[in-house]
């Protein structure tokens, strides 16, 4: 027997965080998947235990200021791509408003730390959403283009081809064959 599952990563992450923090009786407020406010000062022993426990879920406690800011940029982009109101704004003003840094600073920091520009990352993220919707839903490409706020299906399929080197049709064919291939249906 085989079942297919779909994840809401945000819910998964927050639930795991809550469970692990409660397990150690740490008073806290979760502000989002990437930020937790701890309501007391933690002993280094508690912090290590928490860090180890979270590590087994692939969750890492970040300590470096730059890395934290890059994560916040990525999370903000994530929110922007999901929300409706944000689509109307320019990425640069959206990020600098939300994070209170100049876009030039954020953009330099991002490139320096991740070796990719914010613009390229956004395209990669949108193409990843497109792939996800193509592989896991029955939406047509036109519907996906509408949902992800592309001006047209031609624009989406052009950006897809340019970024991935594959046409959407080719991608779908490969994913379909992978699913049929039993070793991938784990």
């Amino acid at each position: 027997m085989k079942i297919n599952v779909k994840f809401d990563f945000k819910v998964c992450c927050i639930t795991i965080l809550e469970e692990q923090l409660n397990k150690l009786n740490i008073p806290h407020v979760v502000h989002g998947p990437g930020e937790v406010e701890i309501k007391k000062s933690l002993s280094s022993e508690d912090l290590n235990t928490l860090s180890d426990n979270l590590n087994s879920y692939g969750i890492e406690i970040l300590d470096e200021q730059k890395v934290v800011l890059v994560e916040r940029i990525k999370n903000t982009i994530e929110e922007m791509l999901e929300g409706d109101e944000a689509q109307l704004l320019k990425v640069s003003s959206y990020l600098s408003d939300k994070l209170n840094y100049s876009y030039a600073y954020l953009s330099n920091l991002f490139s320096e730390t991740t070796f990719t520009s914010i613009e390229n990352f956004i395209i990669l993220r949108k193409v990843d959403r497109t792939k996800e919707l193509m592989a896991n839903t029955n939406l047509t490409l036109t519907e996906i283009a509408f949902r992800l706020n592309y001006s047209s299906v031609a624009h989406l399929s052009g950006q897809f081809k340019k970024t991935t080197g594959l046409t959407p049709t080719m991608f779908q064919k490969i994913m379909k064959r992978r699913k049929e291939n039993s070793q991938y249906s784990s």
Binding site: F9, F115, A135, G165, L166, K173, I174, R177, N181, Q183
Partner: protein
């Protein structure tokens, strides 16, 4: 420890010595810090991956046509092994046959890179592969859909 985390471990299996040398030169010119291990054929690569307590590469470049064990066989073995499943695989081949490309993707390759015919293109392509790999390891991107043809 801190530093090691920022170094990308890369392996290349290719039976052509010139190709290995060019690849090594290209990767040295790239800003992303890497540690490269070279293998002369697929069997050497697989033997290395199966050593006990080995530090696994994050990313493997695989030539398709190699003696002893070819790239396709390596790809299948890697994808069937739960310990190795998470490694990014970039096929690095002269073949641009649509059939080869599709087959490698179906069998779990993440990137298909045609061997470029000049050094500057090679450097650019390898850099792009490293960037993509980096993003897939550090961002919330779905690795199941990690498919690119360069």
């Amino acid at each position: 420890m801190e530093n090691n985390k920022n170094i990308l471990n890369i392996a290349l299996a290719d039976d052509d010595m010139d190709d290995r040398m060019l690849f090594e030169e290209a990767i040295e010119e790239i800003e992303i810090k890497t540690k490269l291990s070279l293998y002369n054929n697929g069997q050497e690569l697989m033997d290395a991956l199966n050593l006990p307590n080995v530090i696994l590469p994050n990313l493997i470049f695989l030539d398709l046509n190699m003696p002893v064990k070819n790239g396709m066989q390596c790809l299948k073995e890697i994808r069937m092994n739960p310990n190795l499943k998470g490694i990014t695989i970039a096929i690095y081949s002269t073949s641009s046959s649509e059939k080869d490309i599709e087959e490698t993707f179906v069998n779990g390759a993440n990137i298909y890179l045609n061997k470029p015919n000049n050094f500057s293109k090679l450097r650019k392509s390898v850099e792009r592969v490293l960037q993509l790999d980096w993003q897939y390891h550090t961002s919330n991107l779905n690795k199941d859909n990690f498919l690119f043809r360069l």
